[in-house]
Symmetry: C2
Subunit: 175 residues, 2 copies
């Protein structure tokens, strides 16, 4: 599959089958993410794979009882918790200026790698920082930025993507 | 090429040939980036393609005279200026909470698309916000987040990537 096709095929999946995700598949997905570029090669990220009992506990950190839009996460077999860590830039200067973008870059690679392996993902940005940190023992100086669900979709086929038009978002030589 | 191989092949390129980049190639790269996921599908991004005369003016916005590490940008045929725009999340609420990560995700897709097409890129985070905005007429409520160089590399072959170890950056069920 060429990359544009892969990008068109990747979509947020909110319904997962019970089919277990082989450990080697998870490893390949993460190995690919770790190849990502970052500001001054700072690699300000750390990934925690949550499966089994931990995956059963994580939904309580994600589902907001007031606005329970993410109830489907109770069926997710594997979560990849993406943390932002202290970034050392040039000359050893610590700065988080680029770290969120770097986390986004690595997370994109992770999702593409999963898609190509026939796995599905959904990137979640809404969760209790406090609860996730407590559950997984994440230190104070790191931040949970995203949680990616990982598993096999219950359905085949790709939905039509709803995106703004090229002409609206791309211009040449001027805004 | 499978995606892991593509991720291993993509590398930051700091030496570009004079070979012009066909307009269709630039368009495919950007079309692929526009397929990217974002928080609530907010798509908080806009891309400005800079080529020709504009590409000749942009290096003055990038090269810091005190620390001129990016002098090589004077040879770059095309720049893709990635702007963060106002993000409307659920219920029309405007929030930039996820926008930098979204910009990172779209920029990653852009670089992968370029690599697959035989083009090279380098993601730059260091430039004068004020100068870039003035040159390209970027409105006050948008932020230039990244500038991606685009063109054909002068050299073939891929350098060895220097990345932290898997065991250092990935753990299972606990930090």
């Amino acid at each position: 599959m060429d990359f544009k096709q892969l990008a068109a095929t990747r979509e947020s999946c909110r319904a997962y089958s019970e089919r277990p995700v082989p450990k080697e598949e998870i490893k390949t997905v993460l190995e690919t993410a770790l190849l990502s570029p970052s500001a001054c090669n700072s690699q300000p990220w750390r990934f925690i794979v949550c499966e089994g009992e931990t995956a059963k506990k994580l939904p309580d950190c994600i589902i907001n009882p007031v606005l329970p839009i993410n109830r489907w996460v109770v069926e997710v077999p594997v979560f990849l918790v993406v943390c932002e860590t202290k970034a050392k830039l040039m000359g050893g200067v610590t700065s988080q200026k680029y770290a969120q973008m770097d986390v986004g870059i690595a997370t994109a690679a992770l999702c593409f790698a999963a898609s190509e392996q026939g796995l599905s993902t959904c990137i979640l940005g809404s969760f209790s920082q406090k609860k996730v940190k407590a559950l997984l023992g994440i230190p104070k100086d790191s931040t949970v930025r995203l949680i990616v669900t990982l598993g096999y979709a219950t359905k085949d086929g790709v939905r039509q993507k709803n995106r703004r038009a090229y002409e609206e978002l791309v211009s040449y030589n001027q805004w």
